[in-house]
């Protein structure tokens, strides 16, 4: 059978932050908190994806705080999904577009279909639908915007909440002094580890916006399923000053709490790896959610991060020398 031309879109990389598309797709008028990492993230993702896009929004902050009746901030088509089923709703939309394109009911460019799911909607209650989408090979970008908790419901622990974090379901107390005792799931590795249809997975942070937008554009240029794990600090849930969102993002990378990388069909590439890692305490001390921790807990966290760093170093993969755009100086 002759392959059908679905008119999949492809995207050129954005050369510099200043040459990023001017058009805003995620527009003002929403009710997110000041300093909201996920909202900033949404704006960058939407900007990178452009007009021919359909967003699927499983329940979470980026549903509840964004979509008050008649004033959603999405300038493109958007549909709410349950927190459980972002992957499945997106699969249905993609299947519909495939059949409608083949039958001549739709002849435009194949829309970017992007699931904007929180950590719960990606790797907890939404894991089954996400994994099935990745397995079946739908042309969908599934984004896990990770604010490391069920934030919208009042900061409850999720599988990506870090060890030692206080949440309303892991309050520190006499019997359980650390608060959260478990170490988090690793979403990109879950996808990479068991989904042969997936050829592109990457991690990003709002502190590195050019890197973020270009990874989105690369993911959207693949003809199959792609997955992105996006670091989106939450001032309310992590208890830091709302002016520090970007700073927290940078510190996460500088301490090794978060690693920026791309995985393309088996090959890893890292971005913005620090030459010398800062101690995790520097990242943790800015956040109220870790304020109750004792030395030994911080040491336990450091040991966990050291293991991750050792793994990154062991792979001995060249690091791309792109400076973080937020600090890029104008050329004289």
């Amino acid at each position: 059978m002759k392959p059908f031309d679905y008119k999949f879109q492809t995207f050129e990389p954005i050369k510099s932050f200043r040459s990023a598309p001017r058009e805003e797709i995620y527009v003002p008028g929403h009710r997110t908190c000041a300093g909201c990492g996920p909202a900033l993230n949404y704006r960058l993702v939407a900007k990178a994806a452009g007009r021919d896009t359909i967003f699927v929004g499983p329940t979470g902050c980026m549903y509840v705080a964004n979509s008050s009746y008649l004033c959603t901030p999405y300038a493109v088509a958007w549909i709410h999904a349950q927190i459980t089923n972002g992957g499945a709703v997106a699969s249905g939309i993609e299947a519909a577009y495939k059949v409608m394109a083949r039958e001549g009911k739709y002849d435009g460019p194949f829309p970017n279909i992007i699931v904007m799911a929180g950590d719960g909607g990606s790797v907890d209650i939404g894991l089954q639908a996400m994994s099935a989408l990745m397995y079946r090979g739908h042309k969908v970008l599934f984004i896990c915007y990770d604010n490391e908790s069920y934030a919208n419901t009042g900061i409850q622990t999720s599988p990506t909440t870090p060890y030692g974090a206080a949440t309303t379901f892991t309050p520190p107390g006499k019997a359980i002094p650390e608060g959260k005792t478990l170490f988090p799931k690793d979403p990109p590795q879950l996808v990479i580890g068991g989904h042969p249809a997936v050829k592109y997975v990457s991690t990003t942070s709002i502190a590195y916006p050019l890197d973020l937008m270009n990874k989105v554009r690369k993911a959207l240029s693949y003809p199959g399923p792609t997955f992105m794990h996006m670091f989106t600090p939450c001032p309310k849930g992590w208890q830091f000053d709302e002016s520090l969102t970007v700073e927290i993002g940078k510190l996460a990378v500088d301490t090794g709490m978060w690693t920026l990388y791309e995985w393309e069909d088996g090959a890893y590439r890292y971005q913005h790896l620090p030459k010398k890692y800062k101690p995790v305490g520097e990242y943790m001390k800015l956040q109220g959610r870790f304020a109750h921790l004792k030395e030994e807990h911080i040491a336990k966290m450091q040991a966990f991060v050291d293991q991750k760093i050792a793994h990154v170093k062991a792979t001995a993969i060249p690091v791309e020398a792109v400076p973080p755009m937020a600090v890029k100086k104008k050329k004289k």
């Binding site: 896009t53 958007w78 709410h80 999904a81 459980t84 249905g92 639908a129 099935a132």
Partner: protein, 396 residues
């Protein structure tokens, strides 16, 4: 040319879905509905049906996939049975409230525990209040016909609601019967292509399903309720068109069998009606004026039609193939709405119910004769001595 074939209920559903040119299909296996998907998978593999066939990872996903497909503008089809129907529960309200006219074929099966493959309507009845159109067939032919009528009614711009097209597991899903498979030209005349009014599209930046304020909830509920007031009219039109184009003779809401002069009547839903009809014939021969009213649509519930059809009857027995533990009348589900429908009549029949056909049990002709005896006595006494009788548990 229409073709007469020997088909099970599952095959009949698949043939009708093919003729309806469904565009996105989402499957997950569970007995006894699975064969519908097996047949559709073959059609897609052979290139007879140009649909996208998505292997859902469960029933919850099946309904999610068809929700997305319908929102994007495709005619979408899925199905399930038993605990699969209940596993999908979260999605029934979002699909109906989002006005996505997907179709779900259900071949009824009991719920656990314990595991039982038998037919019982409790699975589908469990979501009867979620805003779906819902109706039962009593033959593979009617499964075929209801599949087409479901799409026509559900996709009508005045309706835009999902449809549960139900058939009894095994009794219909697995026993072949003669089915006239329609000609594609007839189907084209009856069923226009699906047009989603505000589909998700790059050219239509629309938001589906944003949050609302509490004060915006009631108006939306009222709108959905108002839609259901319009549905009967659409069902009547569609049934009339269907009867004309396909040469059938359906009553839109109720099959009325020998009811005109009946003194006792069975109120029933689904395939056990076939045995019931034969039993009524036998009763008539022995001088018992029995009749049958068979419900074709549970949602919308035909309140007025039921009242009119049963007003002159002295005693009615509701045959319950589903359970409602702890409910009014201590039996199944149908009797609640049946009694409510008759309440405003100046002279109303006495009503009781019979728990029968649970767990997949056959309701035998002698069961109907037993029920007729109870109803005849009730008619004479002008009162029901019991709300409910469990067939097979009665010392008679």
């Amino acid at each position: 040319m229409p073709q007469e074939r020997n088909l099970t209920g599952c095959s009949a559903a698949a043939q009708a879905a093919k003729l309806a040119e469904v565009e996105v299909i989402c499957s997950y296996p569970i007995r006894p509905y699975t064969a519908i998907m097996m047949e559709l998978a073959k059609m897609v593999a052979n290139g007879e049906l140009k649909a996208e066939f998505v292997h859902g990872e469960g029933e919850h996903a099946q309904l999610s996939v068809v929700l997305g497909a319908s929102a994007a503008g495709a005619r979408a089809y899925t199905g399930s049975a038993g605990v699969g129907v209940t596993y999908a529960f979260e999605l029934y309200s979002p699909i109906a409230g989002g006005r996505y006219p997907v179709q779900m074929a259900i071949a009824d099966r009991t719920l656990d525990p314990p595991g039982d493959f038998g037919s019982e309507h409790t699975d589908a009845m469990s979501f009867r209040d979620q805003g779906w159109l819902m109706g039962w067939a009593c033959s593979p032919q009617e499964v075929f016909d209801n599949t087409l009528m479901g799409f026509r009614i559900g996709e009508d711009p005045r309706v835009m609601l999902p449809q549960a097209i139900c058939q009894d597991g095994y009794f219909l899903s697995h026993i072949p019967d003669k089915v006239i498979v329609a000609d594609p030209a007839q189907v084209k005349e009856f069923l226009p292509p699906y047009k989603a009014p505000h589909s998700l599209s790059p050219t239509c930046p629309v938001s589906h399903g944003p949050q609302i304020r509490p004060d915006q909830g009631a108006p939306m509920d009222a709108q959905r309720a108002a839609t259901f007031l319009e549905v009967p009219k659409v069902i009547e039109e569609a049934t009339a068109d269907f009867n004309r184009i396909f040469g059938r003779n359906y009553d839109p809401f109720l099959e009325k069998y020998r009811l005109e002069d009946a003194e006792i009547a069975f109120f029933i839903q689904g395939a056990h009606a076939n045995t019931c009809r034969k039993a009524v014939d036998a009763m008539r021969k022995s001088g018992v004026k029995a009749g049958m009213a068979r419900l074709r649509w549970l949602r919308p519930w035909p309140t007025h039609e039921i009242a009119v059809a049963l007003a002159h009857v002295k005693a009615v027995g509701s045959i319950e193939t589903s359970t409602s533990y702890g409910g009014a009348m201590r039996g199944g589900n149908l009797i609640h709405e049946l009694r409510a429908s008759l309440y405003d009549l100046e002279e109303r029949p006495v009503v009781t119910s019979f728990m029968a056909g649970l767990g997949g049990e056959t309701i035998w002709p002698e069961d109907f004769h037993f029920m007729a005896k109870v109803l005849t006595k009730m008619a004479k006494d002008k009162r029901a001595d019991q709300y409910v009788r469990w067939l097979g548990f009665e010392a008679d």
